[in-house]
Every structure is written in C-alpha cells, then in structure tokens.
C-alpha cells in the first residue's frame, strides 16, 4: 500500500500549534484549512485520495484535551478522545460507547466527531445527538474571535469554525437508545438521546436522522410518533428511510420511558 501513502505529499503545509491561541491564529478564517483531530477520518480520506489538503492544522499538541467540571457544568475539550466519555452518565456515556471500538475511540476526538462532514456512505457525528439532548453549547473560533453558542446553531457552520470545547449542565436524568451496529466501525445508523432537567424539561435529539444531529422537539411532549415531524429520514448505506421511519418512534418511546422511570 506504499503507493497510497501520503509520505511524498510535500504540497501539504502542515501546522502543529502548541497552544489554543496558536491554534486559533493558525486556523485564521478557516479557508482551505483541513483540521486534523485524532486523524481517524482525515488519514483514510487522504490515503484514498478523497482529500488532498493544501493546509492541514494538526491539533494534537494544542492542549485542547480534557474534561472539567465546575459546579454542574461539564466542559469537554475538542481534542478529548471519545473513549474518555465512555464512563459518563446517559446519554453521553452510552452514546460514546457506541462509537467504533475502544482503540479507535482512544484516537478519535470529540471535536472531530462533532465537526466531521457527512461521509461517503452515511452521516457522521455520532455524539451530536447526545450533546444536543444535553443542550450543549459550542465554544469556537474564527478570524481570531472566540464565541460560544448553542450546538444547534454551531452545527450548520461547523466546517467554517474551529471548535475549542463543548459544555453542558448535568441533567437530572438521561437516556440513550440506538440501533445495534453490525460491525464496530459502522457509524450510528439511528440513535435517540434524551435528558430531563431538574425542572422537568424533556429534551430529545437524534443522530442518524439527517445530515447532522437533530432536535426532536415535537416528541418532547410525550408522543413518540411526533418525532417524525422534526426529521426527514433518508436512505443510505446503513439503513433505508423506511426503516428509520419505523424505528425512530420506537427509540423515542424507549428513551421517554427510561426518563420517566428515573423520575
């Protein structure tokens, strides 16, 4: 496979910043920059010539790693390996455990998972649904300016901004239900995450029901079938639209009843 290697790609300008500030400066306005988190998506894309970056920003030494808790607020650095989330409570912990296998999870990062564009065969971004259900905010940079906004607003423009961290308040209860994967490396075909906050507010979101994670606001009142008002299930290599349409309310029902049981 030496012929497929990128060893001779001297045309790629590789930047490896040593701090968050350096990373923000190196990213600039993001034009033409391929951001490399753990490498689990970018490297195969380069190896198979689906991606030929002229400028690559490798974040491995930028210090964006780690999970911190302040009061009830959890902040996860963009370069935190997905594996570090596995022990967390629902929905994020079980959602992370449903990503690839332990070894890939140790390499793949939260930022890479959240920011990846759709793949050739299926949407990526397994963690998006869980983070949306948690009401997470995204802290990101572009043109040297750092801003924080709800993840819902960030996701559509994730290709143009450098994600630094995501934060959320610990919910009173959480639940996750997803389709089993035939192989550890398949992306999430369909999964539903839910949370209940201390004041009883229910928040639901799906992964695999669109090009990126989506809130299922219509079902938050308790009617699982209403989730289909929020999404347009699609056909791809992992599942048909028909199947997704049939299964989504089932997963929503499981999450809602789990949330109810924990109250």
């Amino acid at each position: 496979m030496a012929g497929a290697s990128v060893a001779s790609d001297a045309a790629t300008d590789v930047l490896m910043p040593g701090s968050e500030d350096e990373a923000i400066a190196a990213f600039g306005d993001g034009a033409g920059v391929v951001v490399v988190g753990g490498g689990t998506i970018v490297l195969p894309d380069m190896t198979y010539r689906r991606l030929r970056p002229t400028k690559a920003l490798m974040l491995g030494r930028a210090g964006l790693t780690g999970v911190s808790t302040e009061g009830s607020t959890v902040t996860i650095g963009a370069m935190t390996p997905v594996q570090e989330l596995v022990g967390m409570g629902a929905p994020l912990g079980p959602c992370a455990a449903n990503v690839a296998d332990m070894e890939i999870r140790s390499q793949g990062t939260v930022g890479g998972n959240v920011c990846a564009g759709a793949g050739q065969e299926a949407p990526r971004g397994d963690l998006q649904g869980a983070l949306l259900a948690l009401g997470a905010t995204a802290r990101s940079a572009s043109d040297g300016e750092v801003s924080e906004e709800p993840l819902e607003d960030f996701l559509p423009k994730r290709a143009d901004r450098l994600l630094l961290s995501v934060s959320f308040d610990e919910p009173a209860a959480g639940a996750f239900a997803g389709l089993d994967r035939p192989h550890t490396h398949d992306y999430t075909a369909l999964a539903v995450s839910g949370t209940r906050s201390a004041d009883g507010t229910i928040r639901l979101a799906a992964t695999g029901a669109g090009t990126h994670g989506q809130r299922l606001s219509s079902a938050e009142g308790g009617d699982p079938d209403a989730a289909l008002e929020d999404v347009v299930p699609h056909d791809d290599a992992l599942a048909s639209a028909w199947y997704r349409t049939k299964v989504l309310p089932v997963l929503v029902r499981r999450v809602l009843s789990e949330l109810e049981e924990s109250s």
Partner: protein, 171 residues
C-alpha cells in the same frame, strides 16, 4: 521526528501527516503491523503507542513523535515468546496469520489493563479486529488463557497435536 520502535529510537524525516503504518513498514521495515484496509476497519495494523492500542494506519506520524511504539515484534522473540504469543501458538489461534499481530497487541493491552478470562470482555476488547479465517473461538480461548496466566507447553497444543513450532510443521 524521533520514533522509538520496540526499544530502538529512529530519526525519521517524513510529512507529519504520513500514516505511522507506512513509516513502520516502508521506512523502518517493521512488518508486524499489517496493512489490511488502511482505514481503521480491520485492526491488523494495531500497535501500542505508549502502551495504548491504536491503529497505525490512522496515526499521523507527527503525533507519534517522541512516543514509544510496540509492535508484535516487540512482544517477544521467536526463541522467547511472550505469554500472549505462546497462548496463540498453543491454541492454534493463528490460521493465515494476517490479523494475528494486531490481535496479539490488542490482547496484550487488554491484559495489561487488568483484563480477565471473561469471554464477553475479551470479545469487547477485540471488537475492532477482523479475522477473515473466522478463527475467533481459538483466538478468544488463547487470550483467556494468557489473561489467566496459564503456562504453555509449546510441544503440544490445546488439541493434543504437535505444533509446527516444535517439529517444523511435519505433523
């Protein structure tokens, strides 16, 4: 960049984005990690990076700079096989052998982090590794035996036959 592979430090000059697998195999001639799918899906190129099992095909070499890499060659030597390697011989856990080095690296990491002989836990630990010969039962038996700390007589196998290790494959 400096890579320490199985205890030997090498100075290499490649693009930081070059997959570590290509550096190991093509630059350094370390062929234990196999180039199966080159996209993280098969597990055959798994190596230990500072003790953590990772896919060499997915590691940009720039991230491996300054780390300790262990491949199957670093687990033991032909005349001094590691317990995991002995278990694979004893249980006939290798058929074509292509997945074996990745399986053994994953098994070593599993045992290093305190893994037991629980078959379900072993399946979980090896979940990212594909054996196209479908020899999973024997692989899991071998990892379980190594996790228990069994000792192995390499002149026989778990099924009572002489091994190729002992008689050059004439049996």
């Amino acid at each position: 960049m400096n890579l320490t592979v199985n205890g030997t430090t090498h100075e290499i000059a490649v693009s930081a984005l070059t997959p570590l697998l290509d550096v190991l195999r093509d630059e350094l001639g370390v062929t234990g990690p196999k180039a199966g799918c080159h996209q993280g899906g098969c597990g055959a190129c798994t190596v230990l990076v500072d003790g953590s099992p990772q896919r060499a095909c997915l590691i940009p070499t720039g991230y491996a700079d300054g780390t300790q890499i262990t491949t199957a060659e670093g687990l033991g030597a032909p005349e001094d096989l590691s317990p995991v390697q002995q278990a694979f011989v004893h249980y006939f856990a290798a058929q074509c052998g292509f997945c074996t080095s990745g399986m053994m690296i994953a098994a070593q990491a599993y045992i290093d982090r305190g893994g037991t002989d629980d078959h379900e836990a072993i399946q979980h630990a090896l979940g990212g590794h594909v054996c196209r010969c479908t020899g999973y039962s024997k692989i899991i038996d071998a990892v379980a035996a190594a996790a228990r700390g069994d000792s192995f007589d390499l002149t026989t196998t778990a099924v009572g036959k002489h091994t190729t290790m002992a008689n050059g494959g004439s049996e």
